[in-house]
């Protein structure tokens, strides 16, 4: 399969998706008949970023940081509390009816769990071909089966297995089916929500390589959500680090992994287990104390201050903006942003 003619005229590197101050609060209610709102879980709390054509933006963070809610917002599976997002200049959240369908065609998702995201009663051919039923205008002119087989071949599965059911495939193969389904409508943006977390190491590498190869062939842009920083380093061009609903630091791969200025990013990087006993001993680890606070009741000011060893009075009062800092010219949301003296 080659990139569709429409794609080839488009410039790599221009902004394709732009997200501005996106907020999603889930209300907490009390009472049965007259439900009063007594609070809100601030899952996504003012997130802004841009995704460029042909690049991979990695989104990393621990559980509860809002990265999956962000993915669901972008897919319009959730309605945002406030904020905007535009895909190729068209407003993602104002679109409805036919326009929304066209937008969705251009942005597809690969889910985390390859065991629950495929319908066990449908054949692989039906699963990958289903997008064509929802979007008849994007369906192939000739044989749908032929197109599905092309897709199977593209993701490295045997095209003859078109009539098999999901349970006849292994975890890695199922994830490939999920990727083929996402590619069916020739989207330009794919949101991958923890696409390799459920897979074994030897299989994980196969799927990562597949995603990279598809990006090169088809000029795709990825939003790659993961909690594994090593995986993200491998695939992402730029990385956004999230903590309690906010992006605390965003920059190129090197800016985040070599020159992080936010204490949370530094702690996260130092906690990643390195599979080498000798390199491990040379690292100097930052041990965070405590757990992530509840997003229903985040700390005032800087959300990270309760676990931060640099916290001062100002951190409780003033919310640090995600802006370029003196220490390094990439955006970091810390009043005391500085490079780590000894790199791990």
């Amino acid at each position: 399969m080659t990139a569709s003619p429409a794609n080839s005229t488009k410039v790599r590197g221009e902004t394709i998706l732009s997200v501005d101050n996106l907020v999603k609060h889930f209300p907490i209610t009390q009472g049965v008949l007259f439900q009063r709102q007594i609070g809100a879980v601030k899952a996504v709390d003012g997130v802004s970023f841009e995704l460029r054509r042909g690049e991979t933006l990695g989104v990393v963070g621990e559980s509860g940081c809002g990265k999956s809610t962000l993915a669901r917002l972008l897919m319009r599976l959730e309605t945002p509390t406030s904020g905007q997002a535009t895909l190729e200049g068209r407003d993602l959240f104002k679109a409805s009816g036919g326009e929304l369908r066209r937008l969705r065609r251009n942005m597809q998702m690969v889910m985390q769990d390859p065991y629950t995201s495929l319908n066990p009663r449908m054949t692989v051919g039906d699963i990958i071909g289903e997008p064509f039923e929802i979007h008849p205008d994007a369906a192939p002119k000739g044989s749908k089966q032929k197109r599905v087989q092309e897709l199977l071949d593209l993701v490295g599965l045997n095209p003859e297995h078109i009539n098999r059911y999901p349970h006849q495939f292994s975890g890695g193969q199922r994830q490939r089916i999920g990727i083929a389904r996402a590619l069916a409508l020739k989207p330009e943006v794919i949101v991958c929500d923890e696409p390799v977390s459920a897979l074994d190491v030897s299989i994980q590498a196969q799927v990562i390589n597949l995603l990279k190869q598809l990006q090169d062939e088809l000029g795709l842009s990825y939003i790659f959500i993961a909690h594994d920083l090593s995986v993200v380093r491998h695939i992402a061009d730029r990385v956004a680090v999230m903590y309690l609903g906010r992006i605390v630091e965003i920059g190129t791969d090197d800016e985040i992994y070599e020159r992080a200025t936010h204490p949370y990013t530094q702690a996260l990087l130092s906690a990643v287990p390195v599979p080498d006993p000798e390199a491990r001993e040379q690292r100097n680890m930052i041990r965070l104390v405590g757990d992530v606070p509840s997003p229903a009741d985040p700390p005032s000011g800087c959300h990270f201050r309760t676990r931060c060893w640099k916290a001062q009075d100002i951190c409780a009062v003033e919310d640090p903006a995600t802006v370029p800092r003196a220490a390094d010219p990439h955006p970091s949301a810390c009043h005391f942003a500085e490079l780590r003296p000894a790199t791990p």
Binding site: E62, S63, S170, G171, G172, Q173, D200, V201, S202, I203, Q204, A205, Q206, I208, N209, K212, H227, D228, L229, S230, V231, R233, H234, D253, Y257, A267, L268, L269, A271, V272, P273, V274, P275, D276, P277, E278, A279, R280, M285, R287, L288, D291, V292, P344
Partner: protein, 343 residues
């Protein structure tokens, strides 16, 4: 907490604290018989940590369940082999005798603390249950000891939190409660089955530190079951790598990481993306793990192995001893190790 370090004399002269000898386990299912464990042998001495590494379906957890005597039978049947604890074969003991070993001698913590804890009882009650049932403590004593144990695993405000329910704790704290329960009867061996898999990296580091500290303080031996090569590197003394129900490589941690001597270990190490090395294409192990109902002839890894020769298809490789107590079940172990060094 008052714990006397285990005297080394608890182990008979020359023997190991825990030793598995040629264990074979099969699962008899409606679809057929799966050969889940095919001749596993390993040993553990007092105070040391052995990591058992493998991907899903390699048999690492089944082995642990066999040691604990908590295999579901059926479908699991132990076909042959011995599990020697302090020189005594556990498999020949009665269920009542095995119950005496469980918890007091060998204890286990599980991967998913939320489903391993009972949601309708306070955590203090659950920790104390073991003490009341097995150590015959009074309710007040059990409660006091439960607070001590929660302190030991560094749960802040233990005395205040003893009446809280599992859902009131975070994932990391729940895992600490599980560890406290496992330590209640001062076991000599702790089996940790993927103790940090469900946790975030920053919390994962806290739990691994805690386990390492406890092991040192209490002089426990530990079997750490994991699929994560990164986690193992920090805490284990020795590693046993499992594939298709066999131990394919066994070595001390440093030699294994420096120069793996089995193609499977080598492939695994090369296929993990590393934070400190920015690579281009990840190398992969081609193909899939075998179906345990139809394990390939000869070496079970041969369909996926870059070193494969005719002998691998025909002959099951024996453990090749490479010196320093290292073994590798590969016909070309020397070659693989030399390649790894050259890399």
């Amino acid at each position: 907490m008052t714990v006397q370090p285990t005297p080394a004399s608890a182990t008979p002269e020359g023997g190991h604290l825990l030793e598995l000898r040629d264990l074979h386990i099969e699962f008899r299912t409606n679809e057929g018989v799966a050969q889940v464990i095919n001749g596993v042998s390993y040993h553990l001495d007092a105070g040391e940590t052995l990591a058992v590494l493998g991907e899903s379906g390699s048999g690492k957890s089944v082995t642990a369940q066999a040691i604990m005597g908590i295999l579901d039978t059926p479908p699991a049947f132990i076909r042959s082999g011995q599990i020697l604890y302090q020189g005594q074969d556990l498999l020949t003991r009665s269920e009542e005798q095995r119950r005496q070993v469980r918890g007091t001698e060998i204890a286990m913590i599980f991967q998913d603390a939320l489903s391993a804890l009972n949601p309708v009882f306070p955590v203090g009650w659950q920790i104390g249950e073991t003490l009341r049932q097995r150590a015959g403590m009074s309710r007040a004593d059990a409660r006091r000891r439960a607070i001590e144990l929660m302190d030991l695993v560094k749960i802040p405000g233990a005395a205040k939190r003893i009446g809280d329910y599992p859902h009131q704790f975070s994932g990391g704290m729940r895992q600490r409660v599980m560890i406290a329960m496992a330590l209640a009867l001062d076991p000599k061996v702790l089996i940790a089955d993927e103790p940090t898999t469900a946790l975030d990296v920053t919390v994962q580091a806290q739990i691994m530190d805690l386990l390492a500290d406890l092991r040192r303080e209490l002089n426990m031996a530990m079997i750490l079951i994991t699929h994560d090569l990164g986690v193992v590197a920090g805490v284990a003394d020795r590693i046993a790598v499992m594939y298709a129900g066999r131990i394919v490589e066994h070595a001390d941690v440093r030699s294994l990481y420096k120069a793996p001597a089995h193609p499977y270990t080598k492939g695994l190490l090369e296929s993990i993306p590393r934070l400190d090395v920015r690579g281009q294409e990840l190398s992969t192990i081609k193909g899939l793990p075998p179906n345990l109902m139809r394990i390939p002839s000869g070496c079970p890894f041969h369909p996926r192995c870059p070193y494969v020769q005719q002998v691998c298809v025909d002959v099951v490789p024996h453990d090749l001893v490479l010196g320093d107590g290292r073994t590798s079940a590969c016909h070309f172990a020397q070659e693989v190790r030399d390649d790894s060094v050259a890399r």
